[in-house]
């Protein structure tokens, strides 16, 4: 294959007709994007005394995350299978520009991935919560990450509502009951299944003092330790949920 030719007048590499057609087709396949404010990182002190950094993930980190969560799609406990399989598809869709206006936040403890949450913008004022996956149990990491996701939608993306469904009893307790969320059954959530529940700005600010925590800014050294992502300790987590996927990892 011959090297590409640089067009000094245009200031870019010359592309073939075929390559241009592929680019145009790709542009049509990619959804348009709304501008999204970044999520400012924060630190959360856990019950164990460990500090979790919650920060925005980048698409460059998706491949690692996919590799680590893929084995959980066989874990038939607490709906880890469906949540991780769907999250896998959503993250892949984000990386390959096949899902519109998606974002992903991660919880990181000393570099190790402890949890993932994601969602997307339905439009400028309405958000859709996708999934919350906890990779270290017993420390309310899922609760902290879900709260961070709501914080992102309401406070940083400036939305009025977030539409939410739960796929597990734990999720139902954490979101619908603990906040509590309101029913919005006239909306069919795009994850399918159950009709939507909704977190409004009012719900969020009423729950904020109880459920939304974290310290900003994150000290530079602590934030730096959250890059690059390290593999989560899935063996410990699997013992916690009483399964052994060791052969599959």
């Amino acid at each position: 294959m011959s090297p590409p030719i640089y067009d000094w007048d245009a200031g870019e590499y010359l592309t073939s007709e075929e390559e241009r057609m592929i680019d145009e087709l790709e542009a049509m396949l990619r959804p348009p994007a709304l501008p999204m404010a970044p999520y400012p990182p924060k630190s959360v002190l856990l019950a164990s005394g460990e500090v979790m950094v919650v920060r925005q993930a980048s698409v460059d980190e998706v491949d690692d995350m996919l590799r680590w969560i893929q084995p959980l799609s066989w874990l038939d406990r607490d709906f880890y299978n469906i949540v991780s399989a769907r999250l896998f598809a959503e993250l892949l869709g984000w990386k390959t520009h096949r899902v519109r206006d998606e974002y992903c936040l991660v919880g990181v403890i000393d570099g190790a991935l402890a949890g993932i949450v994601n969602g997307r913008l339905f439009d400028a004022k309405h958000g859709i919560s996708y999934h919350t996956l906890t990779l270290k149990r017993g420390l309310r990491i899922g609760s902290h990450l879900f709260a961070s996701k709501m914080e992102h939608h309401i406070e940083y993306l400036g939305q009025d509502e977030v539409w939410i469904v739960a796929e597990s009893p734990i999720g139902h307790r954490r979101w619908m009951i603990e906040y509590p969320l309101d029913k919005k059954f006239e909306i069919q959530h795009e994850l399918g299944g159950a009709p939507s529940w909704v977190l409004t700005r009012d719900t969020y600010f009423r729950a904020k003092s109880r459920l939304v925590t974290g310290t900003r800014p994150v000290p530079a050294e602590l934030l730096a330790r959250s890059f690059p992502l390290r593999e989560p300790d899935l063996r410990t987590m699997l013992v916690q949920v009483e399964d052994t996927l060791e052969a599959r990892i």
């Binding site: 959360v44 002190l45 856990l46 019950a47 164990s48 005394g49 460990e50 017993g138 420390l139 309310r140 609760s143 902290h144 709260a147 009893p169 307790r173 109880r210 459920l211 939304v212 925590t213 974290g214 310290t215 916690q240 949920v241 009483e242 399964d243």
Partner: protein, 395 residues
């Protein structure tokens, strides 16, 4: 009456079981039988401690089922003992009577509970069945709410502060983290659960002043002990542990009918009986497993059992006397708080843990200086039916 010794112990992992209740109980029983090395001897009787199997697991007649599964025919007795959360120690007491009376020589006592077969709401509801039906239950009383009211009064009367409750949780989680069979092997810190900026989220209210980390988890688990006459105990593999004393006492069903609801009279009376039978005093005890379903109960029971004066338990805790390595280690296994609380099983698992301590086989959570005497409180209802046990290394 013959002296009775524990000659074998076994236990499953606590937490959420992958297996059926019966299979868990088989595993614990099998481990106890192997631990003892019974050879060709026959087990004469089986007592099973359980509280909720007919409701939660659609399984009644557990003792018959266990005998069948382990092929122990024909035992002289096979019975389920249901005494709420004190079922475990009650079953051991029945086993003790069978051997002490000469009716049986070798008795298997197995406790088992599989609570996570139902969701947490149902589990809380099922445990609240032991409250007074017309004075408590119909008003929505649950065990956490009773414990919350008890804690508030106790704090007012005796100067116990939220920090003391957190200290119990921190100590028992640290101990449980060393116990490979514990349900919650998660060390927690004061900053993380009480004083830090995220504490309210990490450790939310359950029944004020009790928070999440003040309450035991909903656990699955099974434990078993094998009892034999002390005179025969040396024929088995392991160092025998004598059941030196057992005491049981009751109190009013409804907590508010007690003259002073902060007095756990049944704990005091059961402990006094157990110590009298053992011809020992609280000062002779080097390790204890107390029924810390809620953190306040460890403090209150440590006083009622006679280890500390009334109102002094939290001060001893503050001084570190109840840690592993302290003057009287309490709940080195992690207790109900961290090891877990499969309700009907708990009394058996307390005795299993004490036996391991007295044999010097508790591994990373072994109490130092070769303890000779151990003590357990198994607390039924909200203190309306309590069984205390004193164990002694050797026969």
């Amino acid at each position: 009456m013959r002296d009775v010794a524990i000659v074998g112990v076994g236990s499953t992992q606590f937490g959420r079981a992958q297996w059926s209740l019966l299979k868990m109980m088989c595993e614990a029983s099998h481990d106890a039988i192997v631990d003892a090395g019974i050879g060709e001897r026959k087990i004469d009787a089986v007592y099973v401690a359980n509280m909720g199997a007919p409701r939660n697991n659609r399984q009644a007649g557990l003792a018959s089922a266990l005998v069948d599964r382990l092929n122990l025919f024909p035992t002289a007795a096979a019975e389920v003992i249901e005494n709420g959360p004190a079922s475990g120690a009650s079953a051991i007491k029945h086993g003790l009577h069978s051997v002490a009376s000469g009716l049986c020589d070798l008795v298997l006592v197995c406790g088992g509970e599989r609570m996570q077969e139902v969701n947490n709401f149902e589990a809380t509801e099922f445990v609240s069945f032991l409250s007074h039906r017309y004075a408590e239950y119909v008003y929505g009383v649950t065990l956490p709410s009773l414990a919350g009211m008890f804690t508030r009064l106790y704090m007012d009367r005796h100067g116990v502060r939220p920090e003391h409750l957190a200290m119990v949780a921190i100590k028992n989680h640290a101990n449980g983290a060393l116990n490979p069979k514990a349900h919650l092997r998660i060390p927690v810190t004061m900053e993380g659960i009480l004083t830090g900026p995220e504490a309210l989220n990490n450790n939310p209210w359950v029944a004020e002043p009790l928070r999440f980390f003040d309450c035991c988890p909903v656990s699955d688990g099974a434990s078993a002990v094998l009892l034999a006459p002390a005179a025969l105990a040396k024929e088995f593999k392991k160092t025998p542990v004598l059941i030196a004393g057992v005491g049981q006492a009751t109190d009013t069903h409804a907590v508010h009918e007690r003259p002073d609801p902060t007095e756990l009279t049944a704990v005091r009376l059961a402990a006094e009986k157990a110590f009298a039978m053992a011809k020992l005093t609280p000062k002779d005890i080097q390790v204890a497993e107390l029924h810390d379903a809620f953190t306040i109960l460890e403090i209150a029971e440590s006083e009622e059992a006679g280890f500390f004066k009334k109102g002094e338990g939290h001060k001893a805790l503050e001084r570190g006397e109840t840690r592993i390595g302290g003057r009287l280690p309490i709940n080195p296994s992690g207790g109900l708080k961290s090891r877990g609380h499969p309700v009907g099983n708990t009394g058996v698992s307390q005795v299993v843990e004490l036996t391991l301590q007295l044999r010097g086989e508790a591994g990373d959570y072994q109490v130092p200086n070769q303890p000779k005497h151990g003590f357990a409180v198994n607390f039924g209802g909200f203190g309306n039916n309590v069984v205390a046990t004193v164990l002694k290394r050797g026969v």
